[in-house]
Homo-oligomer: 588 residues x 2
């Protein structure tokens, strides 16, 4: 075995006339006029290697036996290609290697799908079962190169800024707040369980109490929840915490970090600070706490029409404390037939909206089934409020505040995608601030933390915890990129009494709070510094930066929506001996 | 809240006459002649701050109320200390801060143990329960700073050398080989379990098959084994794999990596290549596969005495295929009484040795209970073989090869520690090569892999797999530092037939091999490159580099020997609802 000279994908004119040794995979083979052309591939790309009886009869004979995905080693001389065969699309396109010697290192059966075709039309389950082959596709392999660059960039920034990378436990304690825990039975302590962490939240706070001052970790977290396309049972979090800081400090650090990542990974220099918006404004203007600001089509409050128009759908909504809101789809009047709009109506139903009203604006006035409810004054008021002009469609949802936001917010995104209104080259970061501290959980009949129970209320809202908890705001902030929530953080509670109060508001008895979080309450007794931080979802960040839409493409060995690994067939049954050692029995 | 100027521990003469803002913990407080002196501490160290009515009456009054571990913010001017109060032991020892303003940020109860005393004599269980306080001790905090530097150094080297950091799954498949798995019940797939990985071994091999070429990960691994002082249920591995390499390539990379770490973390330049030793030589000379080469006292084979001496203990051992080996403890004849030696005898009993023979060498000949068995020729032969001289003790173990190695190897270490023969400033790296491929497991009555089932046999030993598997050597290597196994690796099997053969030798039926490792055998069908790698135990590496002897000191939130977290009280009981969702019942 000789040493390889360099990667196949790096053979350029720098190597002209040099004898090189290359090792890689046969990407494809073409036999032409007694010659054999092979694209030899490795992680850096591929290079054309040529077998010609005048270079080596023997090598040509071996080349006749190679097939796709064989692993070979070759020696040969790098030559300029004939001008007419130059391939400007690839780095190595000006050269070829004239092979004097080839050795087959390993053979390959015909793969279940071709590696050398882009956008292959193969069932994802097959690709997941043969993940090691799918990962050979340059498109996917590039994603992991960029993921590596992303974590490298993150570490460079945080190391440079004085953060310590500290590991926190994976085998930890189950807590009832938040999502469902993955449990790990203990063999030594019969009937007891560890839990896999949903985040290192409490440990990073303890590290602040220990005086570590600045902590980070790129760390696996776990949630045993029903999975959607953009969720995985295990996901990676960039977890950051700082002492003696306020919200501005964390936001400033977060912007510097994200700007460096974008520069290192995308080569893009982002100018100035990221825009900010309060939670209330985001919900009002976009119907979303993670607005995609790459396009307009904002939600417009036209509730006043409900007060003056003789249209029950509008007036009922307003009278029962709800809203009427509209979005204007510019120039789309001709693009949406009644049938199309019926489908949009079904779409908003998913988000709880009972209906979707609409008018088309024409030079002659409004068109559509509800146009007749609009008196002249309403038409002109609508025009003033929405700036809708001839050729536009205006969609309305009249419902509770929550349903209006959810349904119109979702419709806005759907229409923008359908009408191709989104500039995919943009990277629109946005801070969403001033979150509510609590949400009322209708099922549990109690307040739950909007972020988590360790988030501090705004100083001036602490008094509201007793009187009107629903109106207390938090020192919490989310960072949004192109409509994806990249992460969020908060300034934490660092005072024992306030933390105890918070547990009380969340419906914990004193005993429950102590049993679950006693060690944290204790830690606050011994000189806890003010602290706060942020956590970013690495998988999602990589997804957006690499322009993918499927979170699985950013994870080397992902799981399906039923949390199965199709490659290894995990989870699987275990032996009775294993269950016995854990004192467990399966309950059928 | 003002911004702090810098860390307390960084206030040097650079800040003389400047007004600074500091935040930190009250390390201690001394009231002297109407003044108050406080050492204010943060992660970088501490600085003396002084309260004097002439600086601020108000600040002095507040200072009278502060106690140890209070968190405070102060403003003041940095001044030179009086010459007689300079403390040359600390960075800030030339200066003090004359405080004009103090604010108490958070109070502290009296901690369960003092933070400001080194080598505190406190029960480890108390320190683990209040881990966040123990981590405030500079000695321990420094370990985590060095751990951070270590991982940073590792990443810098590997990133620079073209390795990609790729994450592999934590929820994976249980396999019966190796140690006991931690299991994670699946909620979606009733009666099925994930396992936490003992190492990412198979995934990193799959990444090589995918063409990633160079992979690394600093990753948590898990073993549900009974714990010893130097084991934790979760531990961190520096996991590395490379394609198209042989043993020399991996060893060269490993040396470069370790040399960079030692330089970055300890400031020590290691010269040249690390020494190497075969497994057979290490066992023969040191009775250990991870010899501590910082001192001599090697094992000397004196079996020939068993053939000529009329001493049953020696002759029986030799006649039954065993050995007689000796170690010489120089100048120790006066240091060990018969009573002391009786204790050493008990010590070797632990390792299976039935006895410990010994002689003291004097100017007049040999002394001790077995001296009389030594005829003149034996005395002179012993002298030739061992070079023992007057004043030395020679210890002998006569037993099976294995027991001789284990017991004398352990005794050698014990004596060296007792007699302070080890130069603690040394960093003795050593490669141990040419490992046996297999070990015979007396309990299981079958061969087990000495490293793991994916380790390749030496090319020339493949034939031995059928005829004499016990004599097959592996392309495997361990890296040892000061008698600790830092890690190990191997060139892997990349051929389906050889891997199948290996499973067969290990006693797998074809069906079992397919069920457990079918996906790996399949992957070998599609063009697997030759590959190999290494894995280093990060916790242990940090332990040795920081001069600690307890692995727990290198882990921020460690577990006890019964795998309990005394801080959070994990593992713990979970609710019936949680068990129901997992279809599990506890079997009492």
């Amino acid at each position: 075995m000789s040493k390889r000279t360099t990667y196949c994908g790096l053979i350029t004119e720098d190597y002209l006339e040099q004898e090189v040794t290359l090792k890689g995979w046969v990407h494809n083979r073409r036999d032409l006029g007694g010659l054999i052309f092979v694209d030899l591939r490795d992680r850096e790309g591929h290079v054309q290697i040529v077998f010609n009886p005048s270079f080596s009869e023997e090598a040509l004979q071996v080349a006749e036996t190679v097939r796709s995905e064989y692993v070979v080693e070759v020696q040969g001389v790098v030559k300029k290609r004939d001008p007419e065969t130059v391939n400007p699309k690839i780095k190595t396109g000006n050269v070829e290697v004239q092979v004097s010697n080839i050795e087959i290192i390993n053979k390959s059966q015909t793969p279940p799908f071709a590696i050398n075709e882009e956008n292959i039309n193969v069932d994802e389950n097959v690709r997941l079962k043969y993940r090691y082959l799918d990962l050979r596709r340059q498109e996917l392999a590039q994603t992991f190169k960029m993921r590596h660059q992303t974590t490298k960039s993150i570490r460079e920034y945080l190391d440079g800024a004085g953060f310590y990378d500290v590991e926190t436990p994976v085998l930890t304690k189950s807590t009832p707040e938040g999502a469902r825990d993955y449990l790990v039975p203990s063999r030594v302590h019969e009937g007891e369980f560890y839990a896999l962490p949903q985040s290192p939240q409490i440990f990073k706070q303890l590290l602040m109490i220990s005086g570590f001052d600045k902590y980070y970790q790129i760390v696996k977290c776990f949630r045993d929840e029903d999975l959607r396309a953009d969720r995985q049972p295990e996901f990676t979090q960039v977890d950051i915490e700082m002492s003696f800081v306020d919200q501005e400090d964390v936001i400033e650090m977060g912007e510097e970090l994200l700007q460096k990542i974008v520069k290192d990974v995308k080569g893009v220099e982002l100018e100035g600070s990221f825009p900010r918006m309060t939670y209330a404004e985001a919900m009002a203007r976009y119907g979303s706490d993670k607005p995609d600001t790459r396009f307009g089509m904002e939600l417009i409050d036209v509730s006043e029409l409900g007060e003056t128009m003789d249209f029950k759908v509008f007036s009922n909504a307003v009278n029962s404390g709800g809203q009427v809101k509209a979005i204007v789809v510019e120039g789309a009047a001709d693009k949406y037939t009644r049938k199309d709009i019926d489908k949009l109506m079904e779409f908003v139903n998913i988000y709880g909206a009972k209906g979707l009203a609409w008018v088309k604006v024409t030079d002659e006035g409004l068109n559509g089934p509800i146009a007749r409810f609009f008196e002249e004054e309403h038409v002109s008021r609508l025009s003033e409020l929405t700036q809708a002009k001839s050729g536009d469609i205006v969609f309305f949802v009249a419902d509770s505040v929550k349903v209006v936001a959810q349904s119109l917010g979702a419709l806005r995104l759907k229409l923008a995608r359908e009408l191709d209104l989104i500039d995919e080259s943009k990277l629109n970061f946005l801070w969403v601030t001033d979150w509510p501290l609590l949400e009322y959980d209708e099922d549990a009949k109690r307040y739950v933390a909007a972020h988590h129970p360790f988030t501090s209320p705004k100083e001036e809202d602490i008094a509201k915890l007793d009187s009107e908890p629903e109106n207390a705001q938090a020192n919490a902030y989310d960072i949004v990129l192109n409509g994806y929530e990249l992460g969020g953080g908060s300034i934490r509670i660092h005072n024992e009494d306030l933390q105890a109060k918070m547990f009380e508001v969340l419906g914990f008895t004193e005993e429950q709070a102590r049993e679950q979080f006693g060690f944290l309450l204790d830690a606050f007794k011994y000189g806890a510094p003010p602290h706060g931080g942020i956590a970013l979802g690495l998988d999602r960040l990589v997804m957006v930066l690499t322009g993918r839409t499927n979170l699985r493409d950013t994870i080397a060995f992902p799981k399906t929506a039923s949390a199965t690994c199709l490659l290894t067939d995990a989870p699987s049954e275990v032996s009775d001996k294993q269950l016995d050692e854990l004192s467990l029995r399966i309950k059928h």
